[in-house]
C-alpha cells in the first residue's frame, strides 16, 4: 500500500469531492477528513523527501516517457504542503457560513486536489490538463455568489486564463515537436541536442510557456484579471487564490524553467534577467497601485502583485541564497496573505463595508483579530520579528552578493510604499468610530457572531505561524533546503 501513497494523495480528495455531492449532512466532515488524510500521507513521505530522495510512481505501470508518472521531490513536497495546509484552513474558515452548499465544497476539493496534481505530475501535458481543471474550479469559486461583479471578474479571469493556457499548450507542442516526448525529466535530457540543431524553436517554446504562466502569475503587463478576481471573490476563496493558486503558477514556471530548460540554456537565453526585470516592474507597479486603492480587498490584491515581484526577483538572481529566499517568501506570502484575507473577511462582515475608511473603530471592538492583521501586515512590509523580513532579507543579501545592489534599493523603496498603505489601514483601524452608525450590509450572507471559533481559529494559527517563522526562520529554510539543492543541481552542469 505504501508505494501507492503519491496517487492516493491526489485521488482521495477528488473521490471525496464526488462523495460530497451525494451527501447533505456530512459534506464538511468529508472534506476536512479527506484533506487531513492527504496531509498525513504527505507527511509520511517527509523523511524520504527531506533526505533528497525522489519518489516516483508510474500510473498504470507504464514507465518513463510512455505513460504518465508522478514524481515527488523536494520542490513538489514544499509546494504541496503549502497547498494542503492552507486548503484545510480555508475549509475550516468557511464552516460557519451556511450559504456555502455542497457545490462549494465540491469545487474547493477539486481545486485542492488538482493543485496537488499539477505539483506532483512529471508529465507536461498532464500538467496542462490539471491546470485547466484547477482553473475551471477557480472560475466557478469566484462566481459563487452569482452577483454581477463576481460574474464579470470570473469571466475576465476565464478569458485571460484561457489565453494563457493556450499559450502554454502551444509551447508544449513545440517541446514535443523538438524532443518527441512529454516527460519533463526526459525533455531535459533531450533538449540540449535540440538546442544545438534549432535554437530559435527552443527559445520560442520558452517564451510561449513563460508568457502563459506569466498570465497566471499576473506579472505586470498581464495582470489585468487579478485585482478584480481576488477582491470580488468570497473571502475564503480570496485567501485560497492569493495564497495558493498563484503559487501554482510560480511552481510551474520554476519546474519548466529549471527542470526542462535546465543547465546552460537557462543562462544562454538570459531568462534570469527577464525574470528579474519582470519582478522589478510588477513590484513597483503593484506597490504604487495598492497605494491608490480605497477598497480593502482590492488593496490586498494589488499587494499580491507587489509580493510576487519579490519572489520573481529572488528566482531571477538564481544563486543558492536567492532561491532559498524566493521559496521561503512563497511560504511566507501564502501564510501572511491568507491571514490578511481572513481578517478582511471578518472586518467586512462586521462593519458592513468594503471601504478602508469604514473600518474605523474596529481595532477597539476586536483587538485579537486586529493584532493578527497587524502582525501579518508588518510581515508584508518586512519588519524584523515577523517572517516577511527574513525572506526579504535573504533576497537582499543574495542581490548584494550577486552584484545587483540596485535591486536592494528597489525592494526597500517598494517596502516603504507598502508600509505607507498598510499603516494607512492600521491607522484607520484604531481611529474613532464615526458618529452615525451604519447598518451593517453584510457580504451577501448571514450574520456570523463575533467569536465564532471556526472563524478565528485559522487566523490565530496563521498569525502564530507568522511569528514563529519570523523568530525561527530556520524552520522554513530547512523545509526549502531540499528544493533549493534540487534546483541548483539542475542549473549547474
Amino acid at each position: 500500500m505504501s508505494i501507492h501513497i503519491p496517487i492516493l494523495i491526489i485521488i482521495l480528495p477528488l473521490l471525496a469531492a464526488f462523495l460530497v455531492l451525494l451527501t447533505r449532512k456530512y459534506k464538511i466532515v468529508l472534506a476536512a477528513v479527506s484533506i487531513i488524510t492527504s496531509i498525513v500521507f504527505t507527511l509520511t513521505l517527509s523523511s524520504r523527501v527531506l533526505s533528497n530522495d525522489k519518489i516516483t510512481y508510474h500510473l498504470g505501470g507504464w514507465r518513463g516517457p510512455l505513460g504518465v508518472s508522478l514524481v515527488i521531490d523536494g520542490l513538489g513536497f514544499f509546494f504541496s504542503l503549502i497547498a494542503l495546509g492552507l486548503g484545510l484552513l480555508v475549509i475550516i474558515y468557511s464552516i460557519p457560513e451556511k450559504r456555502y452548499s455542497r457545490t462549494y465544497y465540491f469545487l474547493l476539493l477539486v481545486s485542492l486536489s488538482s493543485m496537488i496534481g499539477v505539483i506532483y505530475t512529471a508529465d507536461i501535458f498532464n500538467m496542462y490538463v490539471f491546470y485547466e481543471l484547477l482553473s475551471l474550479a477557480v472560475y466557478l469559486l469566484i462566481a459563487y455568489p452569482k452577483t454581477g461583479v463576481t460574474l464579470r471578474a470570473s469571466f475576465s479571469y476565464l478569458i485571460m486564463g484561457g489565453v494563457g493556457l493556450s499559450f502554454f499548450l502551444l509551447g508544449v507542442g513545440f517541446l514535443y515537436a523538438m524532443t518527441g516526448t512529454l516527460d519533463i525529466f526526459h525533455i531535459a535530457e533531450r533538449l540540449p541536442a535540440a538546442f544545438n540543431s534549432s535554437m530559435q524553436m527552443v527559445i520560442m517554446s520558452f517564451v510561449l510557456i513563460a508568457t502563459g504562466m506569466g498570465i497566471k502569475i499576473a506579472v505586470f503587463p498581464l495582470h489585468g484579471w487579478l485585482p478584480d478576481a481576488h477582491s470580488m471573490a468570497p473571502s475564503p476563496v480570496s485567501a485560497l487564490l492569493s495564497g495558493v493558486t498563484v503559487k501554482i503558477g510560480i511552481y510551474c514556471l520554476i519546474r519548466v524553467v529549471y527542470t526542462a530548460f535546465s543547465a546552460e540554456m537557462f543562462f544562454l537565453i538570459n531568462s534570469h534577467n527577464i525574470l528579474m526585470v519582470l519582478g522589478v516592474v510588477s513590484l513597483l507597479f503593484g506597490a504604487s497601485m495598492a497605494l491608490a486603492q480605497k477598497d480593502l480587498k482590492r488593496l490586498l490584491a494589488y499587494s499580491t502583485i507587489n509580493q510576487l515581484g519579490v519572489v520573481l526577483i529572488g528566482l531571477g538572481i538564481g544563486t543558492e541564497m536567492g532561491l532559498t529566499g524566493a521559496l521561503f517568501h512563497v511560504l511566507n506570502h501564502a501564510i501572511m496573505k491568507s491571514t490578511l484575507f481572513f481578517c478582511a473577511g471578518i472586518m467586512i462582515t462586521e462593519t458592513g463595508t468594503r471601504e478602508v475608511k469604514g473600518l474605523s473603530g474596529f481595532g477597539r471592538q476586536q483587538p485579537a483579530i486586529t493584532f493578527a492583521f497587524i502582525v501579518a501586515s508588518l510581515g508584508m512590509i518586512g519588519i524584523p520579528p515577523v517572517n516577511g523580513f527574513a525572506s526579504k532579507w535573504l533576497i537582499c543579501l543574495a542581490a548584494v552578493e550577486a552584484g545587483y545592489t540596485i535591486l536592494v534599493v528597489i525592494i526597500l523603496v517598494a517596502s516603504a510604499i507598502s508600509a505607507a498603505y498598510y499603516f494607512r489601514v492600521i491607522q484607520v483601524l484604531f481611529s474613532n468610530p464615526p458618529e452615525q452608525n451604519h447598518i451593517p450590509a453584510h457580504e451577501e450572507g448571514q450574520v456570523i457572531h463575533k467569536g465564532n471559533l471556526f472563524r478565528v481559529l485559522p487566523i490565530y494559527i496563521l498569525a502564530a505561524g507568522c511569528l514563529l517563522l519570523g523568530i525561527v526562520p530556520a524552520l522554513g529554510i530547512s523545509l526549502a533546503k531540499p528544493a533549493v539543492s534540487l534546483l541548483l543541481s539542475y542549473v549547474v552542469p
Binding site: 457545490t103 523538438m178 524553436m201
Partner: protein, 89 residues
Amino acid sequence: MFKEMKKVFFIIIILAMAILFILSADIEYGNPKNLDAANYYIEQGLYDTGAINLVASIYLGYRAYDTLIETIVLFVAVAGVVFCLRGKR
C-alpha cells in the same frame, strides 16, 4: 477614431508576431525528428494494451490518467453550467 486606431495597432502587432513565429518555426513538415516513442507505440501498443486502434491504446491505456482528469474537467464544467443557470428566474 480612437477605436479604429486601436484595432489597426492590434493588427500590426499580431501580424508582426505571426511573421516572427512563422519564420522561427522551422519544423520540417511531414518528417518528425524524434520518433522513438511513436515507433514504440506503433510496434508495442498491441502487445501492451490489446487494442488495434493505437490512438485508443494511448488514450485509454498508456495515458488513461489524462482521460480520467479530462472527464472530471467536463463534469466540473457541467456542474458549473447547471449551478450558474439554476435558481431564481
